[in-house]
C-alpha cells in the first residue's frame, strides 16, 4: 500500500533548533545517494549534529505547514529591483542558482531564466507572491525544502520585500540581468574532461630498459622518485603470468617447456600472439565485461526467475572479444545494434546489454515504478561503463561534485526511456534448418491440441472477462484477482488489449500459453481440472520438448509509443518536472548529429571529441593486467575519483587505442610486451616502505586469481577441465543446504549438470542472483545488482574452508594424484616435479622438495597403520601403484591446490 505523496518525517518535539538549520535537506527518492559526513563538514557543520539539523529542517517545514496564512506581509512601498531584490538574490541565492550552478534547474541571475523557473516549474508568479513557490520556500511553507539551505533564514522584512516586488509585477529590467559573459564552471577543468592528446615520450636514464613507449613513461616517473625498476620475472613465471592474464588458464607443462626451449628472439611476443588468438581469450576477458554489464542468469528480487536465454548475450560478448571486434563497434552494437541498418541476428542480440539488470516481478509491484527504476539503472550503467562517471548521483538532484545536472541525467535517461523489452529468435548456427523443417508438423499438432480442448472459445471468453474486470473492478473478486495477476509482468495485459488481428504470431502463441497457465486463477482449480487443462499443459510442454527450438534472446527495440521524458523532481517518477529531449551531458562536447538516437549516442561515446571512453577503457585493461588501474577508481573518473598516477601514460594508451582502430587485443599486447609488465612481482623492502600499493610500478603485483579462474586452474591442474567454449550455463552440484535460504525453492530448478559439462569453466556457471554458486561468491564475484568495474580480492576463512573441503576441490585433488601417478614414472622426485609442473608451472625448490618428502613419508606411515584411510582417500586401483602411496599423493595434491601460490598470479 502506498500514498501518492511521500510521507514527511516529522516529530512533535519543540523546534528550538529551527534557526540553526544549516545543512542541505536532501530530498529522499529511491535512495540513490547519501549525505555523508564529509558533506556536512564541507558546509562547516559538525557531523554529529547533522541529525539534529536535519530534524530541525523538518520541524520547521511542518511547523510552518500548519499555518500557511503566516507569510510575512509584503512591504507597502514600491520596490526597486536593482537596489533591493538583486542584492538579496546575489547574497543568498546565486551560490546554488547562479551562473555556475543551477540546482533544481533554477537560475536566478537572469530575468528570463528566473521567470521560467526550475525543473518543477515556475517559482515566481508575477502579481501573486502568496502563490509563488520562491516565497513559500523562503518562508518554509509546504513540503518544499526550506530555502536557503545554508546560513541564516531570511528576515520577515526581506521576505516582505520579495513579496512586494512580485506583487508589483516582478519587473526585471534587462540591464539588471547578469551579463551573458560566459561563466565557465570551474569544475569543467577537471583532468578527465580535457581532450586526449598524444604526449611526447619522456627522456629516461636507462634507455636499454625500455621495450616500448609505456616503459618510458613508467621509468621517467621512477627516475624522478629515485627508484629502480625490478628485474624481469623468470621465464617460468612469465609464461604462467601471461597465460593466466590472457586466457585465464594456467599453462600446461608442455607449453612451459616449449617456451623455455624457444631461445630465438621474439619468443615472448610469439607466446603473446598465440595466447591472444586462443578461443579462451574471449572467455577470460568477457568475464570482466560481464561484471560491468551486471550480467546474471536470473531476474533478481525475491521471485528471481530464471532467464533461460540471457546467456545468448554472454555468447555474443565472448565471440566479439575473440574476433577482436573494434571497441567502437562493440559499443555501437550493444547500445544500438537494433538500429543498425539491416541488423543481423548478432547485432540484435548485442543490446541484451540493457536486459542484464534486475527485474522485480514481485506480486503487486507498481509497473511504472519498475520501468522507471530500470531506465535509471540503464542510464547509470551506461554512464559508469563508458564515461566512468557516477551519473546516477544526479537522479534526484544535481551531482554534488561533478558538473552533471539533474537535467543532464534525464537527457541521458531519455535515450533509454524509448526502449521496449522484447524477446526474439536468435538461432545459433545449425539450428534454423531443422527448425523450419519440423515447424509445419509442430504447428499442426499444437493447433489440434488447442482445438481439442476448446481453447479458442475459452480463451476468447477469458480475455473478454479480464478486460471487463480490468476496466471496471469490484464486480467479481475472482476476475479482479486474475486481472491483477495478468497485469503484473511481461506486459501480458498489453497483449490482451491488442486487437487479435493486430497481434503478432509470437504474441498470439504467448498469450495462449499464458491462458493455459493462468486460467485457474480466474475460474478456480476445480473447473480448471474439470476441463482437463492441466493435462493439456503437460501435452503442450511435451510437444515443445519433442520439436527443435530456436535459441531465444532478450533484447530491446525502439518503442514508437514511448512517453515523453521529464525530469523526475527529486528523483520521484510521479513528480514530472521540465520535459527533456535525449542528449548527452552538457559538460562534454555536444552531439552534433540529429536526431539524437541511441546509435548517435553510441557514435558520440566513441568519437574523437569525447575524452572519457578511451581513457576509461584503456584504464580498465591496465587494471586487469596490474591489479590496479592508472586511475585506481576505474569506475569513477569524476572529482571524487582518484587522479591518475601516470596521466601522460594513460593518455598515450587511450590516444593510440582510439587512433589505431580500437583494438583491445592490440592494447593488451602492447601492455604485456612492456618491460613494466614483465618485472618480477617480489616485494622489495625499500618499496614496502616507499610505495606499498605499487602505484609507481617499480615491480609487478601479486594478484589472487578471480573466483572463476580458481575453479579453472583447479580443473586444469587436475586434468578434469572440459574446454568447450560457449553454450547454455551449467549447474555444478550444490552443497546440501546451500539453497535453504533463498526465497525461491532453488532445488526445484537447480538440476545438476551431468557428464563432462560439469567440468566446464567458471564463466559458464549459472548465475542465480539470489543463489550465487557458493565457490564463486566466496571468492568475490560481484552480486550483479549494479555495474562492477573493480572486483574485491578478499581473503577469508570461508575461502580456506571452500578450497580444503568442497567435494569439487577434493575430487580435483584425487584426480591430480591419479594424473601424477599415470603421467610421471617413478622415481618419487620425478613425480613431485611433475606435480609442481602441472599445478604451479615450475619445479620445486630444494627445501620444498624436502618438506614434501617428509610429509609424504609421514603420511605413508600413518596410512600403513590405517589402511582403511588409504582406501577412502583413493578408492581407485591403478595398475602397479601401491594404494597407500596413491593415497599419500592425494595429500600432496591437496596441499598444492591449497597453496597461496596456486591461486595467485605472480
Amino acid at each position: 500500500m502506498y500514498v501518492a505523496e511521500p510521507m514527511k518525517r516529522s516529530t512533535n518535539r519543540q523546534s528550538e533548533f529551527r534557526s540553526s538549520a544549516l545543512i542541505r535537506l536532501q530530498p529522499r527518492a529511491s535512495g540513490t545517494c547519501v549525505t555523508s559526513a564529509t558533506d556536512h563538514s564541507a558546509v562547516g557543520v559538525h557531523p554529529s549534529r547533522a541529525a539534529i539539523f536535519l530534524l530541525s529542517c523538518l520541524l520547521a517545514v511542518t511547523a510552518y505547514a500548519q499555518n500557511t496564512a503566516s507569510l510575512p506581509p509584503p512591504v507597502e512601498q514600491p520596490v526597486d529591483f536593482t537596489a533591493e531584490v538583486r542584492p538579496l538574490f546575489e547574497q543568498r541565492c546565486y551560490g546554488c542558482h547562479g551562473a555556475a550552478q543551477q540546482m533544481g534547474g533554477l537560475r536566478l541571475d537572469r530575468g528570463d531564466d528566473a521567470l521560467r523557473g526550475g525543473n518543477s516549474g515556475a517559482v515566481i508568479v508575477p502579481g501573486d507572491s502568496a502563490r509563488s513557490k520562491l516565497v513559500r520556500a523562503i518562508a518554509g511553507v509546504e513540503g518544499t525544502p526550506f530555502m536557503p539551505m545554508v546560513g541564516e533564514r531570511l528576515t520577515p522584512k526581506q521576505i516582505g520585500v520579495l513579496r512586494a516586488w512580485i506583487d508589483q509585477g516582478a519587473e526585471w529590467p534587462d540591464s539588471a540581468s547578469a551579463k551573458s559573459r560566459s561563466v565557465k564552471d570551474p569544475r569543467a577543468s577537471h583532468w578527465s574532461f580535457q581532450p586526449i592528446r598524444l604526449p611526447s615520450r619522456p627522456k629516461v636514464g636507462n634507455e636499454a630498459w625500455v621495450k616500448n613507449a609505456i616503459d618510458a613513461f613508467v621509468l621517467a616517473r621512477l627516475d624522478s622518485e629515485g627508484l629502480e625498476p625490478s628485474p624481469p620475472a623468470d621465464r617460468t613465471t612469465l609464461v604462467r603470468r601471461l597465460s593466466l592474464d590472457i586466457i585465464g588458464l594456467p599453462p600446461s607443462p608442455q607449453e612451459v617447456s616449449a617456451f623455455l626451449a624457444d631461445q630465438e628472439p621474439g619468443s615472448y611476443e610469439r607466446l603473446v600472439k598465440r595466447l591472444s588468438a586462443s578461443p579462451h581469450f574471449g572467455e577470460k576477458w568477457a568475464r570482466h565485461w560481464l561484471d560491468l554489464a551486471r550480467y546474471a542468469d536470473s531476474d533478481g528480487y525475491s521471485s528471481d526467475r530464471v532467464r533461460p536465454y540471457m546467456w545468448r548475450y554472454r555468447e555474443w560478448v565472448v565471440n566479439a572479444l575473440n574476433q577482436d571486434m573494434p571497441f567502437d563497434r562493440f559499443t555501437a552494437e550493444q547500445l544500438a545494434g537494433d538500429l543498425l541498418p539491416n541488423a543481423t541476428v548478432e547485432q540484435r542480440v548485442a543490446p541484451g546489454f540493457y536486459r542484464c539488470g534486475l527485474t522485480n516481478r514481485e506480486a503487486g509491484v507498481d509497473l511504472d515504478q519498475i520501468w522507471f527504476d530500470q531506465v535509471v539503472d540503464r542510464t547509470r550503467t551506461v554512464g559508469e561503463v563508458w564515461l566512468g562517471l557516477s551519473v546516477g548521483c544526479a537522479q534526484c538532484h544535481d551531482h554534488k561534485y561533478d558538473p552533471i545536472s539533474q537535467k543532464d541525467f534525464y537527457q541521458l535517461f531519455a535515450f533509454f526511456n524509448r526502449l521496449k523489452d522484447v524477446e526474439i529468435d536468435a538461432p545459433l548456427p545449425g539450428q534454423m534448418g531443422p527448425y523450419l523443417l519440423a515447424r509445419p508438423e509442430y504447428e499442426r499438432k499444437r493447433q489440434d491440441l488447442l482445438r481439442e480442448y476448446c481453447i479458442p472459445q475459452l480463451q476468447a471468453e477469458w480475455e473478454q472477462k479480464l478486460l471487463e474486470a480490468g476496466d471496471n473492478p469490484g464486480q467479481d473478486a475472482g476476475w479482479d484477482f486474475a486481472w491483477t495477476q495478468l497485469a503484473m509482468w511481461d506486459f501480458k495485459y498489453k497483449v490482451v488489449r491488442t486487437p487479435i488481428e493486430k497481434r503478432s504470431k509470437r504474441q498470439r502463441d504467448f498469450l495462449t500459453d499464458v491462458f493455459v497457465r493462468q486460467y485457474a486463477l480466474a475460474v478456480g482449480k476445480e473447473e480448471f481440472e474439470a476441463l482437463e487443462l492441466d493435462g493439456l499443459q503437460e501435452k503442450l510442454k511435451k510437444l515443445d520438448e519433442e520439436f527443435p527450438k530456436l535459441t531465444q534472446a532478450m533484447v530491446v527495440e525502439e518503442d514508437p509509443n514511448s512517453p515523453r521524458t521529464y525530469v523526475a523532481v527529486r528523483g520521484n517518477y510521479k513528480q514530472k518536472g521540465a520535459p527533456v529531449e535525449p542528449d548527452t551531458l552538457s559538460i562534454l562536447p555536444p552531439m552534433l548529429s540529429e536526431p539524437h538516437t541511441r546509435l548517435e549516442l553510441a557514435r558520440w561515446l566513441v568519437s574523437d571529441e569525447n575524452p572519457l571512453t578511451a581513457r576509461v577503457t584503456a584504464n580498465r585493461v591496465w587494471q586487469e593486467l596490474f591489479g590496479r588501474g592508472l586511475v585506481l577508481t576505474s569506475e569513477d573518473f569524476g572529482a571524487q575519483g582518484e587522479k591518475p598516477s601516470h596521466p601522460a601514460l594513460l593518455d598515450e594508451l587511450a590516444f593510440r587505442f582510439r587512433q589505431e582502430g580500437w583494438s583491445l587485443k592490440r592494447l593488451i599486447r602492447r601492455i604485456v610486451t612492456s618491460a613494466t609488465y614483465r618485472q618480477s612481482s617480489a616485494q622489495r623492502p625499500e618499496l614496502e616502505e616507499r610505495d606499498p600499493n605499487n602505484v609507481l610500478l617499480a615491480r609487478q603485483s601479486r594478484l589472487r586469481l578471480p573466483a572463476e579462474l580458481i575453479r579453472d586452474a583447479t580443473l586444469v591442474a587436475s586434468g578434469l577441465l572440459n574446454p568447450d567454449v560457449g553454450g547454455p550455463p551449467i549447474k555444478p552440484p550444490l552443497p546440501p543446504g546451500a539453497a535453504d535460504l533463498a526465497f525461491t525453492n532453488a532445488s526445484k530448478f537447480w538440476e545438476e549438470t551431468q557428464g563432462p559439462d560439469r567440468y566446464r569453466r567458471g564463466i559458464y556457471i549459472h548465475f542465480q542472483r539470489l543463489l550465487p554458486y557458493p565457490q564463486l561468491s566466496n571468492f568475490d564475484i560481484p552480486n550483479a545488482a549494479e555495474s562492477c568495474s573493480r572486483r574485491e580480492r578478499s581473503n577469508t576463512p570461508l575461502q580456506s574452508l571452500n578450497l580444503l573441503n568442497d567435494p569439487v576441490f577434493f575430487e580435483a585433488a584425487q584426480a591430480l594424484a591419479a594424473r601424477i601417478l599415470l603421467e610421471a614414472p617413478s622415481p618419487w622426485e620425478d613425480r613431485l616435479r611433475h606435480a609442481f609442473q602441472v599445478s604451479l608451472s615450475r619445479d620445486p625448490a630444494a627445501d620444498e622438495a624436502r618438506q614434501m618428502r617428509d610429509y609424504f613419508q609421514e603420511r605413508v606411515r600413518k596410512l600403513d597403520a590405517n589402511p582403511q584411510w588409504a582406501s577412502s582417500l583413493f578408492p581407485n586401483r591403478l595398475e602397479g601403484v601401491d594404494p597407500v602411496r596413491a593415497a599419500a599423493w592425494v595429500g600432496v595434491s591437496r596441499i598444492l591446490l591449497n597453496l597461496d601460490e596456486f591461486i595467485t598470479r605472480d
Binding site: M7, E362, E792
Partner: protein, 484 residues
Amino acid sequence: MISNDYEQLRTRRSFLRDCACGMGSIAFADLLHRDGLTAQAASVPEINALAPRRPHFAPKAKSVIFLLMDGGPSQLDLLDPKPELERWDGKPLPPSMAKNLKMAFAKPTAAVMASEYKFRPYGRSGMEFSELIPQVASCADDIAVIRSMHTEAFNHHPGQLLLMSGTSMAGRPSIGSWVLYGLGSESQELPGFVVLSSRSKDSGTFGGPSNWTSGFLPSVYAGVPFRGSGDPVLYLSNPPQVPQELQRDDLQALRAMNESRYAEAGDMEIAARIASYELAFRMQTAGPELLDLSNEPAPIREMYGIDNELTRAFGTNCLLARRLVERGVRFVMLTHANWDDHDFLRKNLPKNCDMTDGPTAALLKDLKQRGLLDSTLVVWGGEFGRTPVIETRGQTDPEKVGRDHHPLAYSMWLAGGGIQGGRVVGKTDEFCMSIVEDPVHVNDLQATILHCLGFDHTRLTYRHMGRDFRLTDVGGVVVDKLLA
C-alpha cells in the same frame, strides 16, 4: 618489534583499502595492541580484519540479535490494538482514508477487518499485547514497542533491503556487515555475523542473501548463513574421506609451504592467507561445539522448546543465538519466513505465533538470567505491517481472507542493551492507517541500533564510488524515547 609489525600491517594493500576512511584509525590503534606474532613462526605476522575495535562512544550493547520476521507480521493482531475497528468491521473505509490509497492487491473499497484476537495489559507499564503472543507479553517490562514504524517500500524485497541495508536498492551492505565493520568481532573462532533461519512455509526470506550481503564493504564482513541441513557453514566439515588427524597434518604442511613462499615473495597477502587457514581450522572445531546442544540442561531445552516439533526450528535458532552471543559473535540475524498473510490469516498467523512466541520469550529471559541482556540488543519485526482492510483473493470466506502490505504504520519491538523496557513509542490513528505521534522511519531505527552500539550513525561511513556511504543513507534520527 611492535612498531615493525605495525608498519607491515599499515602497508598491507587491502587492509589499507578496507580502512580507507572512517574506522581505519581505530582499527590500527587496536591492532597496535595486539600480539603481532604467531607462536609457530615468528616471521609471519598475524593479520585479522575482524579484530575488535572501539566505537565512537561508550556503547550500551555489544551485540545484536535481529529477529527478522519476513513478510510483515500483522501489527493489528499482535502489538497495536484497535478496538474502534469493530464498529467498522465489514464496512468500507471512510472515504477520507481511502483517498490516495494504493495497495498491492486490495482494492480501496475493501472492507475493514477488526482483529479477532483479544488484547490485554501486561507488566508494570500495562502495555497491551494480543493473546497470540502471551510469552513475549510476559517480558513486557523489558520490551519497548514502537507502534509508529514506517517505510517507503510496499513490496517485500525492496522493503527488506530498506530495513536491512538502509535503502531499497540492492547492493548496499547489510546492517550486520556495518556493525562488524565498525566493531570487529570478539570471537576469533566463529564468524562475526551469523544468519540463522527457519520457516513456516515452503520458502526462505524474500530478501535472501541481500539481507546479509556485505555490499561494497570487504566480504570478510558478510553474514555467514548457518544452514539447517548439511554443514551449518558451507564446507565446515572435512571431506568425508579425510579424518581429522590427516586434516591437521595437511594444514601444517600447507602452512610450512606458504611460509616458505612468504619468505621469498614478502607479500603480506600470504600472511593473511595463512591466518585465514588458521581461523578456518579453529572454526572447524568451534562450529560443532557451538551446535552441540546436548550439554544444555533440560529446563533450558524445554524453555526454548527444542524438543517440541512445532517450536524446534525457531527455538533451536534462538538457543544458538544466545550461544553465539555468549561466544562473542557480534551480530546474529534470525529470520523466520514468513508472515505474508494475504490469505488464510486466521490459520497462518496463530501458527507462526505458536512457532515463535515461546522461543522468543525464552531468549529474552535466558539472556537476562545470564546477565547478557544488558549488553545484547534484541530487535523484532518485519519489512512492513498489514492493512486494517481485508484482502480477498477471489475469496470471501472469513477463514480464507487476509491483510495486504502496509508500509505507512506498523509495529516493531526492541529489548536489551540500551533500551528502556516497558515503554510504548508512537501512536497510530484509530484505524492504524497512519501515524499520529512520533513516527519512526526504518532509518531512524537503524540510527538507534547503531547508537546503542556506540556509533554516531552519520560517522560510520565507507567510501565507495567516490562517496561516503552510511547505513542510514540520507536519513536517520536516533529515537531518544527508546533509550534507557
